[in-house]
């Protein structure tokens, strides 16, 4: 059992975080589910619920299939004002190294830019992650986006 992080793992992990940010900002939504394992957990949850022990999340998905359903919703059914988003993600903090898995966290800020409009701070929080080794490289077994932002500026359509 490995309990220390070697340089290769660290490189792969930071690359995973950078790749994720790049993918969700690219507008190619089909890239997003591929960062996850088949039985993954993805949650977008207000910090208030997280800290008070309330289970409700703004989005709560418990399989890669649900993420694909969300992508279909974004592309085909959810009417929304088009916007760009830009993630700025901090360096991950490693909380725990287990056999083939890491528990880590990272701060994030997402900016939103609507057409003909100024860029604004959209959603700010931290990722609480479980990352696992798979034959296809590192994947998120769990990604919880716990956001500080007290008011969602109308709506969130694209993945955080």
């Amino acid at each position: 059992m490995t309990t220390t992080l070697n340089f290769q793992d660290w490189l792969a992990l930071t690359q995973l975080y950078a790749d994720y940010a790049s993918a969700v900002d690219s507008g190619n939504w089909d890239l997003w589910p591929e960062f996850f394992t088949d039985d993954c957990v993805y949650r977008l949850q207000p910090r208030e619920n997280h800290e008070r022990g309330f289970p409700l999340a703004t989005l709560a998905f418990t399989s890669k299939g649900m993420l694909k359903d969300r992508v279909y919703g974004i592309k085909e059914t959810l009417f929304h004002d088009p916007y760009y988003q830009r993630h700025v993600v901090g360096t991950p903090v490693i909380r725990e190294v287990g056999e083939g898995r890491f528990r880590c966290e990272a701060n994030y800020a997402v900016f939103r830019t609507k057409l003909s409009d100024a860029s604004t701070v959209f959603n700010v929080g931290r990722y609480l992650d479980v990352v696992v080794h798979t034959p296809d490289g590192l994947k998120f077994a769990s990604r919880e986006c716990i956001y500080d932002s007290e008011m969602i500026p109308n709506s969130i359509i694209y993945p955080i």
Partner: protein, 421 residues
């Protein structure tokens, strides 16, 4: 009308006695908005403040809002509920900054005036002045009575675990306020079972607050805007439906029972329906009927002016409208379950919550259309919207192909807003 401007009128101009064409200025005028706050939120009406389950223990409190006024729901040592205004009687400070917590008393930090959870003033520092060299300096005047300087106390009504309050001591009883028909739908959802809070979602929608009431009084849009509903067969044109209002047409219930006869394609008549489309993960629609439904699979109830009660299959929530200026409101969702829910039902309610809220598959787009309506209203307030589907009258119906509930709400709006002061 403002004679000097044809684009920016002062007053709404209705085309006749009806309410089927709503002036844009009703959504854009700050003066009209302030009159709405006064006549709907602060006088004669009951406004939503929360659920009893949010303050289960003695000393618990929750800060919230009625209109633009900050209020605190408290439970005192004897278990009684109170609602007080979050404005210190001394210098007017909004003293309560936490959104929830547990206290034995409230103390305004500015000069440490302290209040009971019921809102009575109990302590004023230096009330008797300061003794120095055998003399008493300062202090409050001799005729100062703490009893005269409590927090503003609101009238409180609770029913089925839901708490409403009113600044108006003379407001009619809550049951009369809802009227028997809407009360029936209220009691269907809140039938006395203990509620279990699942959590909150908060969004700020840049549109007039009435647009959210109208959105949930508009059964025309769900099958057209919310193509997700249609794509996956949750909305069908053969859904059995009823629209109901109270006698004054201010509140409403949209009641629907999901159709099941024939293939959805034959009955939907909406091009976005895709028979072949399947969810990758069908657990979004793992719907299990509950005995308390008594038939209908969805009942959306609008309680004017402050709250929407949602039952969409297994997902239940309150949606609190907190206006902030004529062009924006905060929309606070409280999802809940019931004490007798097993783990599977709780998890089902949480999964179906993905459909609703600020990122929901079928609710995110409601906020978007409200924003873009408001944008247009601001640009040409002399114009008007059209709400003539199903005719120009106000009536209960046995179908959804009508905007009667919107006309009903504006019938009431005109009655109240056009009455002499």
């Amino acid at each position: 009308m403002n004679a000097s401007s044809t684009v920016f009128p002062d007053q709404p101009v209705w085309e006749d006695d009806g309410t089927h064409r709503i002036p844009f200025v009703a959504y854009t005028s700050e003066a009209i908005y302030r009159k709405e706050l006064e006549r709907f939120f602060y006088r004669n009406h009951w406004c939503y403040v929360g659920l009893e389950a949010e303050v289960p223990n003695p000393g618990d409190f929750k800060r919230t809002a009625i209109g633009e006024r900050s209020v605190i729901l408290t439970r005192d040592a004897d278990g009684a509920l109170h609602v007080v205004e979050n404005v210190c009687a001394h210098r007017g400070m909004r003293f309560c900054r936490e959104r929830h917590g547990n206290r034995k008393e409230f103390v305004c930090p500015y000069h440490q005036w302290s209040y009971t959870l019921e809102g009575d003033l109990q302590g004023v520092p230096f009330r008797r002045g300061v003794k120095q060299d055998g003399q008493v300096h300062g202090g409050m005047p001799a005729d100062f009575k703490t009893a005269d300087h409590g927090l503003t106390k609101l009238k409180v009504a609770t029913r089925g675990g839901v708490v409403f309050a009113s600044f108006d001591r003379d407001v009619e009883p809550f049951e009369d306020y809802l009227g028997p028909t809407i009360l029936g739908y209220f009691d269907r959802l809140f039938n006395g079972r203990q509620l279990k809070i699942l959590g909150y979602n908060r969004q700020r929608i840049p549109g007039n607050w009435k647009l959210m009431q109208e959105n949930i009084k508009d059964p025309y849009h769900p099958g057209l805007l919310h193509t997700w509903f249609v794509t996956f067969g949750l909305w069908r044109a053969d859904n059995k439906s009823q629209l109901r209002m109270d006698d004054r047409h201010r509140h409403a219930a949209m009641i629907s029972t999901r159709g099941s006869a024939g293939t959805a394609e034959q009955v939907t008549q909406v091009s976005s329906f895709k028979e072949s489309m399947q969810l990758y993960d069908p657990s979004f629609l793992d719907i299990v009927p509950e005995p308390w439904w008594g038939g209908p699979t969805a009942v959306m109830t609008t309680i004017f002016p402050s709250v929407i009660l949602q039952q969409q299959v297994n997902s239940v929530s309150t949606r609190h409208i907190q206006p902030d200026g004529h062009g924006s409101f905060d929309f606070v969702w409280t999802h809940f379950g019931f004490e007798d829910d097993d783990e599977a039902m709780t998890s089902r309610r949480l999964t179906q919550a993905n459909l609703f809220g600020p990122a929901g598959f079928v609710s995110a787009d409601d906020g978007e259309v409200i924003e873009f309506s408001q944008e247009a209203f601001e640009s040409k307030p002399f114009h008007r919207t059209l709400a003539e589907l199903g005719g120009r009258e106000v009536e209960n119906t046995e179908h959804m192909v009508t905007e009667t509930l919107i006309r009903g709400m504006y019938r009431y709006w005109r009655d109240v807003m056009e009455a002499p002061a």
